[in-house]
């Protein structure tokens, strides 16, 4: 049960983080990608989405 909660929350977290990235880049271009690797974050988000598809009903 805890595993499912963690997977769901991970997906929410990375989704929120990517949304924040888009907003920051829209308002202050270049600021978010200076500190975070967007490609790496997208891979993490996709992985969390895949895990959610596999383990969350």
């Amino acid at each position: 049960m805890k595993k499912v909660v963690i997977i769901k929350e991970l997906f929410y977290f990375f989704s929120a983080l990517l949304l924040l990235a888009c907003l920051v880049e829209l308002i202050f271009p270049g600021l978010f990608i200076l500190f975070f690797n967007l490609a790496f974050l997208t891979i993490l988000w996709l992985s969390s989405a895949l895990l959610a598809l596999l383990y969350v009903r």
Binding site: K2, V5, I6, E9, Y12, F13, A16, L17, L20, V24, F28, P29, G30, L31, F32, I33, L34, F35, F36, N37, L38, F40
Partner: protein, 500 residues
Amino acid sequence: MISFKHKIRIFWLVLLIIILLFLLWQRVSPAGEWTCRQNFSADSLSLVTDSLSGRSCLSRATPVERVISGDNGPLIVLADPVYFSVFTPRAFSRAELEIIYRPHLSSSTPIVEAGFLADSKLWRYDLQPVYNLWLEEGLKDWSSLSMSNIHLFQRQKKFDEIFDFLDAWQNDSASICATPRCLAVYNFDLSAFPPAINLEQLNHASESLFFPYTIRGAHQFYFYLSSSTLNLSGELIDRNEGKDKDPLELSVYNGHKLVASIKLEDNGFEFEGSGDRSESRLFQINKEDLTPGLYRLDLRSSDDVMIKNLHLNTQYLSALHKIWLESTDPVQLVTDAPYVQVKALDPTSLQMLNFDDKFLNIEEIYRQYEVKGEGADWYNIDLSRGGVILENNGVFALNKESLLNPDYPRLDRSLGISAQFDYILADYELAQKEHNNYLSSRLDFSTSNFYREKGRYNLILSIPGLKLDSAASGYLEIKNIKVRFYGNSLWFKIRNWLNL
């Protein structure tokens, strides 16, 4: 009792808020400082961590074919110039650029300069010296005096203080040496001193000059007025190839003083980017009560603007450093520099250039060619048609009778330590020695008015004469670039708002 689900949600929400606050903190930079550092000789561990973290604040060097960057070696610059961009979260008023490098340069590439793009319209960079081979190593036999970063080199020692030399030069340069051109300068402003030509010897037989060639883009001209009246006229044509409006600003300066200016806004009749040429528009400046003397004309415009039928009531008119000729007719000019760089922008402009009976075949468009002359006071340039950009460190004029260059010779690759020089005056900070023959140079820029787009300043590294196809010219290894920006702190701004 908080459930596990809520605990974990609160945890990531707090994490997200911390990230947001961190980004806002960086954006505001409350301390008023920002440092961008790029180590090109980083070890493999830091390369792995770098690939997982965000982008570097310093972009990759471009064009990529002009540099070699190994996995953990220094950045090797093979050709001039290379460009970087530096990200800053906000605009700053001052920048301190520090470069650690190892030069492998020769007398044909003696100078390394770096700077930021100051004017995007004129594509003008504010350059400062990084390394000058002549000043670092080439003047060991000369007597030298230094005062902070000001250096005076004398072929034969005559002065014990730099002040004495400047005082003597200001009051009576003829007593120091026969011609003012015995003094070469590097990065030293002598605008408050007499010009490098004897104005009393200028001939004023003719008081009207017609410049028959159409020129394109921004230009600067020197001219000499023998009367107190200025009559300037010409015609403007807008090519409408770019997407922006194309105004033209004409400014006339006497020294640093602006004496006349006009601005012609884009007429807006044609669609920008359509390539439809506008009708000719006449412009003129008529000004009286001027002091006879040397003047500078600044034509500030985009590359879409062409100027033809330029008339001036002077005998002397010379384009400074660059002239972009758009005429289809044959062109004949003279220049006072012993070389010329030429670039054709149109296949129909490919041709044979005659530089004082030295021929240069311009075979490719957008490629910069160079031809050198030998030991003359002025050199003829013959072209079968325009459509080319001519550049050098001197001036271009219609003929030797209208040639006028009041600037002191610059100690650079074209002149070197010429036999004509008895004195060299430079504002230059000698490079600091580091380990393994690396050198470190620090440059200071006032960045308040520098061009900044999408949070990035444009940085250039220039080594004039360094070319990919010239093995003898050398290369430059760069180990580290650090740019530290300074501006007002948040505390300073708050105190200003509250008038404390």
